[in-house]
Subunit: 300 residues, 2 copies
């Protein structure tokens, strides 16, 4: 069978058409998004939704983040990723299985219910993590499409997944916010090169394979522009699995923090990786595909 999204196989990059829908569900008057929001997600590939979580909920989540960062020994140590050249924690993976409040967050209707609407299927958490970009020394994260990695290294068959980032600190233009190229999700950028074994051990700190080339990035930026996903704590940023995104470093005193949950359609569960010998560990890419039981109401 032909791999529609083959990548890291050739010496030249290619910009290929997307073969999958972006929005799978139909809008109804009861939907948790407006019709215009669904259309925007379809055409632009992202939504910025301010004030989804209220002040008290944000305070609870922030306190929990403080606890997690203060006691990394309580976590599965494979799941904590430090900054390049430092011991400072940059990400904690699988937070929805290591912390009750994060589990509740991942099941929240305002995230999982919206994912179910857009993907028109039961959803499961493909990956969850807490991202923490410290002040003063936060490093950049280069442009990439998550789907490229999830397809090649994890075996995600098609584009039927999305990410929800819950902002837990103010993300401003100055502290290295997520940058998106709106509309870039409608093409697939096949990257050059091969994937080495155990790539994930270094790629979570600094990507060296599956990296978009500069010429293609310049074309995408010219065609689509660049938007920063800024907002106050409690804002939710949703974006398609194939969105080209990245972030600059952060010399400001203001850390950037978010809880990040990737929902995949149950029908799109992982299979054999399309470009790596062995799949990455399940704390990075869940292979058990347990459907989220959606929870209504405010966070406890």
């Amino acid at each position: 069978m032909t791999d529609l999204y083959s990548s890291r196989c050739e010496a030249q990059p290619h910009l290929l058409p997307r073969h999958d829908p972006v929005v799978y569900g139909e809008w109804t008057p009861d939907a948790p998004l407006t019709r215009a929001q669904m259309e925007q997600f379809d055409s632009q590939g992202f939504l910025i939704l301010p004030g989804v979580f209220d002040k008290d909920e944000v305070a609870s989540l922030q306190a929990e983040v403080g606890n997690l960062l203060a006691d990394p020994a309580a976590l599965d140590d494979r799941t904590t990723i430090t900054e390049p050249g430092s011991d400072e924690i940059r990400s904690i993976f699988e937070i929805h299985r290591q912390n009750d409040l994060m589990a509740r967050l991942a099941a929240d209707e305002r995230l999982a219910g919206v994912a179910r609407l857009l993907l028109d299927d039961d959803v499961y958490v493909h990956q969850s993590r807490l991202n923490y970009k410290p002040g003063y020394q936060g490093k950049e994260f280069f442009w990439h499409s998550d789907f490229e990695t999830w397809h090649v290294e994890d075996g995600m068959p098609r584009m039927r997944a999305l990410s929800a980032s819950v902002l837990l600190a103010a993300n401003t233009d100055h502290n290295g916010p997520l940058m998106l190229m709106p509309g870039s999700h409608r093409n697939f950028l096949a990257c050059v090169g091969e994937t080495p074994d155990d790539h994930y051990l270094v790629s979570l700190k600094k990507q060296e394979y599956g990296v978009p080339d500069e010429t293609s990035l310049a074309e995408l930026a010219e065609a689509h522009g660049i938007v920063a996903a800024v907002g106050e704590p409690g804002t939710v940023v949703l974006f398609d699995c194939n969105m080209m995104h990245g972030s600059n470093g952060n010399i400001t005193p203001y850390p950037r923090a978010n809880a990040f949950i990737v929902y995949n359609a149950l029908s799109n569960r992982l299979t054999t990786p399309y470009g790596a010998k062995a799949p990455r560990p399940s704390f990075i890419a869940a292979r058990d595909a347990e459907p989220v039981r959606i929870r209504k109401g405010r966070l406890a």
Copy 2:
């Protein structure tokens, strides 16, 4: 005699009052700035002036930058500074002595005339440089006050100097623009530690001494906020010598380029460094103090 701006001498940082005026000159109806602009420079420490140089002038300057970057062998090789870990040029110093158009720019009434008004003295070029932050891989420049370095390492006696940055590429919120803390110029942050010999050889790439501490930076940011000096090519950003400023890295495809000229009051010419054994070379900090002969009209 007591050094009012002693720095790098103690184990603890100190935030000291500024003992010098910011604006030395008086506004008159013939002044090249409005009264409000002079007041803003006084209170905020900076001015962003769009459209100072027109499209044709910008095109000439950009072409000259292309020539300079394309043929570094034609330059005094001490004056070209590369990115950390790469051969890509980050800065070219002393451009006003290595290139006729840059010499004309440094003498332009729209820069030097404004500097003379604000500093109320004949002015000379203390330092000039072309800054080029490449796309994709541009590195951050950590927070600092230029005056701290110019005083300690070069022997600039008092705060009576300012910088003019002529934007030669669009500086947006996304491509690592200059960030300023408005009002921070009214305090002097005495940094900790000592200055090693030949510090400039590494500090132009990555500052390790005379670096503001994180606690003081957080206080300054809370008190003053952070503003990005964004604008189209041809914009001029003027800022006081003691402004706390820095910039994030740049992963976008869009390089950031500017011509940067520091004007010092003739009466404030350099003396013995206040904290280093030997002054830095003259291509970084001019010791001959030749007054600018101000030129009117458009760039040739």
